[in-house]
Symmetry: C2
């Protein structure tokens, strides 16, 4: 069942496309629901899709040879993923998993490949998106080279809360979309992170164990820097302290 142009236009990255550019795409798009932990993108499958997240939360993951899960990025509502396989003769490098019940608009590659280089704004959006992903992966790469695991976690929290934009307003986030990232936060105000990733989801992003993430959170809570409200909300109570910890000033 196709989706309307209006549904597609809700996605930031498509909202500049003309109706005539969107119509052939909307005709082939489908809206699907995914359960928690269901696979949204499987690189082994023959037919690939561009995936626009309407509601819920997704995570791009890879697996090492020994079966360990590696976190690559988070997808928040309003964003999309799965575009790497459109360029060249290789599948997408990553699996995408639903972290929560999600609604995703799927757009088959076959509907895009024939037109993407002819619709100027479409190829521009897609290639700019790839460039952004390279930048995100590079930023995450630098985080991973920190030898101190707590420092990685502080940096990840700074990214989730937007604190990393303070020194680098051009930075892009691993979690972006309709929620957040649009403005630099105020260091004097508490920051609420809705639906934060679990300790395990953060741990696989940072090459550490969920027990270590828990212990770092424990010490941040003991210093009243963060406060956890169950699993639905995480509050940065002292953004300025977290900001300095993330800079390595701890």
């Amino acid at each position: 069942m196709a989706v309307s142009i209006e549904v597609l236009r809700r996605f930031d990255l498509l909202h500049e496309l003309t109706d005539s550019a969107l119509e052939p795409l909307a005709a082939h798009a489908v809206l699907r629901k995914f359960s928690r932990r269901e696979i949204v993108i499987d690189p082994g499958q023959a037919e690939s899709n561009l995936c626009f997240l309407f509601e819920g939360s997704l995570q791009g993951v890879d697996f090492t040879l020994d079966g360990r899960e590696v976190g690559l990025y988070f997808v928040r509502p309003g964003d999309f993923c799965g575009e790497v396989g459109l360029f060249g003769h290789h599948p997408n490098p990553e699996f995408v998993v639903a972290l929560a019940k999600s609604q995703v608009v799927l757009l088959p590659f076959s509907a895009i490949e024939s037109v993407m280089y002819d619709i100027h704004p479409l190829i521009k959006v897609l290639s700019q998106r790839l460039a952004r992903w390279v930048i995100e992966l590079t930023q995450q790469r630098s985080v991973l080279s920190l030898t101190s695991i707590p420092l990685r976690i502080y940096r990840q929290l700074a990214q989730l809360s937007g604190l990393d934009l303070i020194d680098n307003p051009q930075a892009v986030a691993s979690s972006q979309g309709a929620g957040g990232r649009s403005k630099v936060p105020d260091l004097t105000q508490e920051i609420n992170i809705a639906n934060p990733p679990t300790h395990q989801e953060m741990a696989i992003m940072l090459n550490t164990s969920r027990e270590t993430v828990t212990r770092v959170f424990q010490s941040l809570q003991a210093e009243d820097i963060v406060q956890r409200n169950g699993t639905s909300s995480l509050i940065i109570k002292q953004p300025e302290k977290l900001y300095h910890l993330a800079l390595g000033d701890g």
Copy 2:
């Protein structure tokens, strides 16, 4: 001083472009020599270039907050780099450094930006290159998530020698270009890696120290798996053993 179309066409990724596509580019390209350790790309500079490596060796690097160098990729002759900044309003995310005396063809962004979306094969080449870089970064990301440092080094050596193509012929390499990567190596034959990266250059790719790389090489040499000929050549004497070590079978 501009360069000829023939010089540009020597680069694999440009050789499918027509003369009319290459002419405006060649008119603005310059050939420059860089000394060892000289900066080829500086993201802080206003004017950016696409860089084609004619001869020598380059490495893409980033720096962490505490000034540690992070290795992102190697560039071998015949390849190019520096294309991320073409897409969107942000500089390139990486510095590029000459690892050896190098000759580089520099193509200013200003010469490309006005035509890149209009020359179909050019935007295709550039966007496919971005996609390949995402795949490379993702592969390297998986290597970095291995908790065993020796296993990371085995995998890096497998990539440098082409052994990683055995199970994944579609894989792209962090070091590619005119030399190597074009065919799957024979496990029964010694593999020669010309101008291998130094222990320090490998260490920053793998988030480890050069002492640790040295110790792992020591044990590989003790088992006659690799043999070092000064700094100009590294021979994989028992590719099958390295292949299995890289799989974690050690």
